[in-house]
């Protein structure tokens, strides 16, 4: 408790710290926003809640880490992870997701939970339970007498996330297949009547999501670190972001992603890093409760 109060008083005494935390939060939040966009895409188009989202990120991260050990520039990991995860996503779609897509939501939730366990444990067996990080050896800039530090990897991560997000959004808006995806999201049956091969659209959407996660993972490995069991935390974070924003609301998802990053930076600073997981879960419960209260107001249930 004393720790918390003294941390808050530091923030009060040196307002410049707040700015530092804010910048860090926004830079990291961009990564959350990117992966949350992928989750929202699959959720909206296929009505599947992918609990393996965080674990796809971890695969991408481990891929980049392995490449950097072999002497490949970590930034090159982004496109490589994108392509590899595209293939993995396609295989998983064909093998599992395509078979549960028409069933109820709990089925797909459980199926992706199973996939998540398989991925976590495989990564654990292959690379061990230690945290790893792909160091890019890039400079760190300092402002305001060293009170604000901006690592250039974070900035690069931010720029990469922004470029990727813009590309994907433009692609969804303008390309033929992007239009087909949006049509399927609106009404799958009508899309099928109009000659859109929804099966292909689903496969494409799921692979695209996995690829976005892979690229995100490459950034995470550069900016932060990766560990086999961290995937679940990412899944919960992304779920919080998408639930808070609503999956049809793209600007909302991006804003909530930034919000999540900032919230975590401040929460981590004030409470200490060991409460990080508890903080995320708590946020999940708060978001769900608020959503429920909103729903209650709309529904008139028998009490």
């Amino acid at each position: 408790m004393d720790q918390i109060i003294s941390n808050i008083s530091i923030l009060k005494a040196a307002p410049i710290f707040n700015l530092g935390l804010l910048i860090d939060g926004l830079l990291i939040g961009s990564i959350f926003a990117l992966a949350a966009y992928g989750l929202a895409l699959v959720w909206g188009v296929m009505n599947v809640k992918n609990l393996a989202q965080g674990d796809f990120i971890m695969i991408g991260g481990y891929l980049t880490w392995n490449l950097s050990r072999l002497g490949v520039e970590p930034l090159l990991g982004v496109p490589i992870a994108f392509v590899t995860l595209w293939c993995i996503g396609w295989i998983i779609y064909r093998a599992v997701v395509s078979k549960v897509i028409a069933r109820d939501l709990f089925t797909s939730l459980l199926a992706t939970f199973g996939i998540a366990i398989v991925i976590q444990q495989s990564l654990n067996l292959a690379f061990g339970p230690d945290t790893q990080s792909a160091n890019a050896d890039l400079p760190t800039w300092q402002f305001a007498n060293g009170l604000i530090t901006v690592t250039s990897t974070r900035l690069i991560g931010f720029v990469c996330a922004a470029i990727l997000a813009t590309t994907v959004i433009l692609f969804m808006k303008n390309s033929r297949i992007g239009q087909a995806i949006r049509a399927t999201a609106q009404d799958a049956r009508a899309a099928r009547v109009l000659g859109i091969d929804t099966e292909k659209v689903y496969a494409f959407t799921f692979s695209l999501n996995a690829a976005i996660c892979g690229a995100t993972g490459a950034l995470v490995a550069m900016v932060w670190n990766v560990q086999p069991f961290m995937g679940t935390t990412y899944s919960i974070r992304l779920f919080v972001v998408v639930t808070a924003a609503g999956f049809g609301n793209l600007p909302g998802v991006i804003a909530a992603g930034f919000g999540m990053g900032v919230f975590e930076q401040f929460g981590g600073f004030i409470l200490g890093a060991q409460y990080q997981q508890a903080l995320i879960v708590l946020l999940l419960l708060i978001v769900l409760t608020v959503r429920q209260l909103q729903q209650l107001r709309e529904r008139q249930a028998v009490q």
Binding site: K49, F113, G114, I117, A278, L284, T289, L296, Q303
Partner: protein, 362 residues
């Protein structure tokens, strides 16, 4: 002769087998005790997941809550809990016979009642959520509880509490806990058989089939949902208290709130056996536990990968479960009339769902 008329016979047979098993195989009495624990898990999960259509991923919360409540009561009756947990690693504290058994009985009662009370509170929070939100919300409750207990020094934080040591021979101890868990599982089974035949069972099934319609028909759905959760929590709490005492040491992440092992086994066993039937969870628990105990040691580090694959395979290819499959194959044996035949007495008391049930409402 069909399955419905066989039921009383099956109950007597089960009672006989349950009492005879530890005497016939004394070496395996611990594994058998865990088998009954699995049966309790599956049956309590099925109250919500199978009969009511609310797929919870956080039922383990009540198991762990019962464990901790019992531990605090058992220790707190005679010592200061904070002192006990901090001294537990250096000094050995002995409980007398009388202290142990009064503490144990009161602990079990407190665990059941305390878990039920927690269920009332949790139910108020989570039952506004539908479908997958409910699953994720309950999972969040369980994970949050694990994290909270892991940082609470008074109950031993992440390093856990040792419970009072059982005063008696190890052989007797094994038999004692086996019989307790068996009795609880048996009572639960008999209780659920009665419960599913009452109006409560029908109401809960109506909620599963169409909650909006059930509400429109004037059912107090929230009240029924909360009651179902309280029943599940009561039994899970007692089971948690028994299991905690059986292994003698509790710890938040892997024993009290194991969200990726016991918690997910519950769902798997019910799906394997057949969701929404009385005997499905029992069959599923027995099959799952036996397969797990026999093969687990051969996987050498690959167990959890195998578990994940098993989840995927069961969910994708075999969701109706063993009992569901049998019902589909031989409906007459279960007292379901397939085509309109000659007039019979409507003796069917079981509510059966053949097609995989889908949730329309979200």
């Amino acid at each position: 002769m069909n399955a419905t008329s066989l039921q009383p016979l099956i109950f007597w047979l089960l009672l006989l087998v349950g009492i005879a098993a530890p005497l016939l195989f004394p070496d395996y009495s611990n594994q058998l005790a865990v088998l009954w624990l699995m049966v309790i898990f599956a049956l309590t999960w099925d109250i919500l997941g199978g009969q009511m259509g609310y797929n919870s991923l956080g039922n383990i919360f009540f198991f762990g809550a019962g464990m901790y409540i019992a531990a605090v009561v058992q220790i707190g009756l005679f010592y200061d809990v904070g002192m006990y947990t901090s001294a537990g690693r250096t000094t050995h504290i002995v409980f007398t016979h009388a202290q142990y058994f009064t503490g144990f009985v009161l602990g079990l009662a407190a665990a059941g009642i305390g878990s039920a009370l927690l269920a009332l509170i949790i139910g108020w929070i989570v039952f506004g959520l539908r479908g997958p939100y409910f699953a994720i919300g309950t999972l969040g409750v369980a994970v949050a509880a694990a994290e909270l207990m892991a940082s609470w020094e008074w109950v031993g934080a992440a390093s856990g509490i040792s419970l009072p040591v059982f005063p008696g021979e190890p052989e007797f101890q094994k038999l004692f806990f086996y019989l307790l868990l068996f009795a609880l599982a048996f009572v639960l089974l008999v209780f659920l058989r009665w419960l599913y035949a009452t109006n409560f069972g029908l109401a809960v099934n109506a909620i599963r089939d169409d909650e909006e319609k059930a509400e429109a028909m004037g059912l107090h759905t929230r009240r029924y949902k909360r009651t179902a959760l309280v029943i599940a929590a009561f039994f899970l709490g007692i089971a948690g208290a028994m299991f905690g005492n059986m292994i003698g040491f509790i710890e938040p992440r892997d024993i009290a709130f194991p969200t990726t092992t016991f918690n997910i086994f519950m769902v798997l066993m019910v799906l394997l056996g057949g969701k929404g039937t009385l005997w499905g969870p029992v069959v599923g628990a027995v099959i799952f536990h036996v397969i797990k105990e026999v093969t687990w040691t051969y996987f050498l580090g690959w167990q959890f990968i195998a578990l994940g694959l098993l989840i995927v395979i069961i969910v994708v290819y075999f969701q109706q479960g063993v009992v569901g499959w049998l019902m589909e194959r031989y409906p007459e044996r279960f007292g379901i009339r397939v085509a309109p035949k000659e007039k019979e007495e409507p003796t069917v008391r079981m509510e059966i769902h053949l097609a995989p049930h889908s949730e329309g409402a979200e």
